[in-house]
């Protein structure tokens, strides 16, 4: 084990040999490209289309092998296999789109059908190849789960170069991606061709899939497109940052996973990379202060208390009975009512403040209704809970109060 840890650290520092270093860099570039384009697909809610695309590569690999053998070649030449896989993946993608458009089947059914049928066809082709090569190991099984051990130098170069190209495309496309993912209608008015952007991103996902075949394998490559953006989503609400973070997470997963895999050569690379990506996801799910689980749980509880507190205060102010046990508990804990349910001094003051806040909000709505408000946007923050002090300046509130006072003077009897 100690030896493996040492190997892993060496690999992380790119000291585990030229091949390993190249594979680690390639996997990192692949991860960056996957995370970046995956973020876009994620935002367009089409994450699992890439699952169909990746499974659809298998028959292409098989056919390319058979074709190259038939032409007298080796059959294992990587670029040839990748071209074959790209072609069949593209066909799978076209079929998914066609089925969802031209028939009454929904996209998820089309994805599942293409995914499984292409995979089944691929398996049929693999069994044919096994008999063709009669004992000679074709090694195509490594495309299922990825294997970087014993990779040829030329293959490592191919992967690193293709990863670099894909990462550069993401970099070049990031503005367009952000626009389309954020608001397709607006993007269209800005002269961005939505369909072409979608297609480009799908093509990019396809390139990522094909490069990733040898490293991650076709069953799990989709994880590299889905998990990094899902993890990034916990940290930010902004599209551009989401894409950047997803690329970062993807790159990290690829790099660390490839390094780990070079230390544990017997294990398939794909699952390791996926599990590293998931570790990043899990950390984000639990720990992110913005949307993480812990933060959300605390927020949810405090929100519920705010609702009940406000509702209770308004009931107090109107002299209505409160029946809800939780409301009573919240008010009691805050010292706003006594054990016997009678409002304390603080409770009365808070109730009055809540009523005043309501009145101010009403006045603000009223101003807007008469088209007198300076800025109607503040009203969008009205949720029945936010104190008006949080969205308006003291001057604006003073203006509301003057208006309320005038109304009060004109109509001395305020109904409960």
């Amino acid at each position: 084990m100690a030896a493996e840890v040492g190997l892993f650290l060496d690999a992380l520092a790119l000291r585990a040999g030229y091949n390993s270093a190249l594979v680690a860099v390639g996997a990192a570039l692949l991860g960056i490209a996957a995370g970046g384009s995956g973020a876009f697909i994620f935002l367009r809610k089409r994450a699992l289309v890439s699952d169909a695309v990746s499974h659809a590569t298998l028959p292409g690999v098989g056919l390319a092998f058979i074709a190259m053998v038939a032409l007298g070649g080796d059959g294992r030449w990587l670029p040839g296999l990748l071209i074959g896989s790209a072609l069949s993946a593209a066909i799978g993608l076209v079929i998914v789109e066609w089925m969802a458009r031209a028939t009454r089947l929904s996209e998820d059914a089309a994805i599942g059908a293409v995914l499984s049928v292409f995979f089944g066809l691929g398996i049929v082709l693999l069994t044919i190849i096994q008999t063709l090569s009669s004992g000679r190991q074709a090694g195509l099984e490594s495309f299922l789960l990825g294997a970087t051990a014993g990779m040829l130098l030329s293959e490592a170069y191919t992967i690193a170069a293709a990863g670099l190209v894909a990462a550069l495309i993401v970099l070049a496309m990031r503005r367009q991606m952000t626009l389309v993912a954020f608001d397709p209608d607006y993007a269209a008015t800005q002269g961005v061709d939505i369909r072409r952007t979608d297609l480009t991103m799908m093509a990019l996902a396809l390139i990522v899939t094909v490069i990733g075949l040898k490293v991650v394998g076709l069953i799990l490559i989709v994880a590299l497109l889905i998990i990094p953006p899902a993890a990034a989503r916990f940290w930010t609400d902004r599209v551009d940052r989401l894409i950047a973070l997803a690329a970062l997470f993807g790159g990290l997963a690829g790099y660390i996973g490839a390094a780990l895999s070079s230390a544990f050569a017997a294990l398939p690379t794909g699952p390791i990379i996926v599990l590293v990506a998931f570790a990043l996801f899990l950390a984000s799910l639990l720990g992110s202060p913005l949307r993480g689980v812990l933060a959300a749980a605390l927020n949810g509880l405090s929100f519920r208390r705010r609702v009940h507190r406000r509702q209770g205060l308004l009931a107090l102010a109107r002299g209505e009975a409160i029946y809800d046990g939780f409301t009573l508990a919240v008010l009691r804990q805050a010292g706003l009512i006594r054990r016997d349910g009678v409002a304390t001094l603080a409770g009365r003051a808070a109730a009055a403040a809540a009523v005043r806040d309501e009145a101010r909000w009403d006045a603000a709505h009223d101003l807007a209704a008469h088209n007198l408000a300076e800025d109607e946007r503040v009203l969008e923050r009205y949720d029945g809970l936010t104190p008006i002090e949080e969205v308006m300046t003291a001057d604006q509130i003073a203006e509301l109060d003057r208006r309320l006072a005038r109304l009060e003077a004109a109509r001395p009897e305020v109904s409960g």
């Binding site: 699992l48 995914l115 499984s116 899902a230």
Partner: protein, 309 residues
């Protein structure tokens, strides 16, 4: 069609057919609920379930495996729901996160454990081994009446027969709950139908079908059986009971035709080796779906539904 057929081909065909029917039945409702990919997710997590069951029990007997896989499926669906809600992530992405991770974990554990003594490997898990489920004790058609030979049937036959019957029973008993909850969830809830429980029951049924079929056809091709026959059936009719019947017809057709093509097809074109039966079954089911997409009488959306889509 003599003794050889009974010994080598009859049981794989029967097993394949039962597996296809068992998957197609719940698949009808997965399709209508736009949950076709739940079948995808569940079938991927069967592998880790079986691996963990093996680690715990140390054997590959059927029932611990079934339990392990069904447990994994339920855990996976729970995790998907949890991640979807907690992270407010769309269901497709939540599914993708969960099933790839569990599958990766399953493969890794499998590779790290010594399973050399038992028949459990990644490849088998991925594309099954229908051809190996032969009936050694059979000597001809007469064996069907021979108690001793029948006792030597591959255990999958009985298991899949039970599971298929259970699926049929499930569909019939919960027919109205499934249809109402699928068509109009909000209305179903107002009627007091526990729509979540119905959805959960469907997921469990799917998991059981996936586990039972897994042995025969592996964890990925089983997806074809969940989706292709019901999808093709949907394009044949607008009446749900008919759709379910069509899906059974297509399931049987896929299994029988697929097995025959895989086993005898290469011989017809002068090739001596058979190809993967499971792969061929998926391919045939895909071909049937393709034909339904091109020629099915109800292949297009109509009226308001078409405008809305």
């Amino acid at each position: 069609m003599g003794a050889d057929f009974v010994q080598l081909s009859l049981t794989p065909i029967v097993i394949g057919t039962l597996a296809c029917i068992a998957c197609a039945l719940p698949g009808n409702f997965l399709l209508l609920r736009r949950q076709a990919l739940i079948g995808d997710a569940i079938s991927h997590v069967v592998l880790p379930g079986i691996v963990v069951a093996f680690l715990i029990t140390g054997t590959i007997t059927a029932w611990p495996m079934m339990l392990g896989a069904a447990g994994a499926a339920i855990i996976a669906v729970g995790l998907i729901e949890l991640i979807r809600r907690l992270g407010r992530i769309e269901p497709g992405a939540a599914m993708g996160v969960v099933f790839t991770t569990l599958f990766a974990a399953g493969v890794l554990i499998l590779e790290m454990t010594d399973t050399s003594g038992v028949h459990l490997d990644v490849e088998h898990a991925l594309h099954g081994n229908l051809e190996s489920l032969v009936w050694f004790d059979a000597t001809g058609w007469g064996s069907l009446l021979d108690g001793q030979a029948l006792a030597g049937l591959p255990p999958q036959v009985l298991r899949l027969a039970v599971v298929t019957a259970a699926m049929a029973l499930f569909i019939v008993l919960l027919w109205r709950e499934l249809t109402i909850a699928t068509f109009d969830t909000v209305f179903a809830r107002s009627m007091g139908i526990a729509t979540r429980a119905v959805g959960f029951a469907l997921v469990v049924a799917t998991a059981v079908a996936a586990v039972a079929a897994f042995d025969a056809v592996g964890s990925i091709i089983v997806i074809a059986m969940f989706i292709c026959p019901p999808a093709a059936a949907r394009l044949m009719t607008n009446h749900l009971p008919h759709q379910v019947l069509w899906s059974v017809v297509f399931a049987v057709l896929s299994a029988v035709l697929g097995y025959v093509l895989a086993g005898y097809g290469p011989g017809w074109i002068g090739h001596s080796h058979a190809v993967s039966a499971a792969g061929m079954i998926a391919t045939v089911s895909g071909a049937i779906l393709a034909l339904a997409c091109l020629f099915g009488p109800e292949r297009r959306r109509t009226g308001q539904a078409a405008e809305g889509a």
